[in-house]
Symmetry: C2
Subunit: 230 residues, 2 copies
């Protein structure tokens, strides 16, 4: 039998998540937020809320991108989702947030005040339905991601991820990834080295290209990617 050594993943020092707190848009003016919600600007790596925070609000991404993640005691991190413009995040059934949310780069979100203790009440201007739909989409994405995490190889994981991002940002051929290799690794259940090597492999196979700016990926052969992705 194998030993109990914890495996893989980037170990996040359990207090390093709060370092970046840019001056711009520090405190949101969220006292008695009106129906439409207030806007909040976030700097690179700025925390929107943390695991254990009181879940008084939920959010919609307007610009930029947000990662949500959970940590293990020893710092291993699992990013469960990247939230892009239009996405709603932070809806909880209990009183506390169950994961941490941080901006990947500069980002803007709209803050909504949570309604009933358990869930939202009816009577909104369609916001309740939007929230329900958003939660369901999150669940669907989570289900797809469990399949990826539990049953796909590194090559399949990375290919699937690139296709997914390609669909979500859709800039034609080239995809501008808003996240680092570390973020990708912690989303796909891999290490940064494996992500890097796998991207290299995809380049070698000719299905993608990596320009000098490493955040950019050119999807040269989506069909080929799709074939590799599952």
């Amino acid at each position: 039998m194998q030993t109990a050594l914890p495996p893989n993943g980037s170990r996040i020092p359990l207090s390093a998540a709060l370092v970046a707190r840019p001056a711009l848009g520090r405190r949101a003016e969220n006292a008695a937020a009106p129906r439409l919600g207030t806007t909040r600007r976030l700097g690179k790596n700025e925390e929107l809320f943390a695991e254990g925070d009181r879940a008084s609000f939920f959010y919609r991404v307007i610009s930029g991108a947000v990662r949500t993640y959970k940590l293990l005691e020893d710092g291993r991190r699992q990013i469960d989702a990247f939230h892009l413009p239009g996405d709603i995040l932070g809806v909880e059934s209990r009183e506390e947030h169950r994961f941490t949310a941080e901006a990947l780069g500069e980002a803007t979100v709209v803050v909504y005040r949570r309604r009933a203790p358990g869930v939202l009440a009816a009577g909104d201007d369609g916001l309740t339905e939007q929230v329900m739909a958003a939660v369901l989409r999150s669940l669907e994405r989570a289900q797809d991601h469990m399949l990826l995490l539990g049953r796909k190889s590194a090559l399949e994981k990375v290919a699937s991820f690139l296709l997914d991002m390609g669909e979500r940002v859709s800039d034609g051929e080239s995809v501008e990834l808003p996240m680092s290799r570390t973020d990708i690794a912690d989303h796909l259940g891999l290490t940064i080295e494996t992500v890097s090597r796998t991207l290299g492999e995809l380049v070698k196979r000719g299905v993608i290209a990596l320009p000098t700016h490493r955040r950019t990926v050119v999807l040269r052969d989506r069909a080929g990617l799709r074939h590799l992705g599952a």
Copy 2:
């Protein structure tokens, strides 16, 4: 770089899911289901709905247990959740079910007719709130499970799983697992061999015991399990 060999997991022959169709409770009488929902009885391994089926209904487990899963083209399977009595499953945002649901053994479910095209409308006898809460709990469980799949070792996975099942069925010390080793493996992203070996390791460490009936697990040291689980 590694080769593109698909990894691990039980390969389900892509047509073997429909074999077991016991005579008892074959067709549900689900024409124009009234508000309260109709009851449907399921036999061992009987399918409740399949990926791609029209999502006209959703369900609540009354007795027994139901697994929901997704398949890859080559038959690799990921069970995203086991649904126990009280759990609601099969709520979708689109027209089709995105995964397959099967009874683990004999099971009973209540069938509810879906309302609005997108989501439920208000005005129910609290069912809408219950559905929202159920979807949120599914999402929370999915998030926890992504952490498990992406970042935990085999030992941690199995320990976490046993604790979780122990909380959900809560028969004091001994847990009667409703699922096979194959199901467990496909839920935890492992192989049956690794599940078996890991259970053996937990026995060797004295935190559990395995009676002759291998579906029963005695949790002898929950604190120890918890320590191993994360």
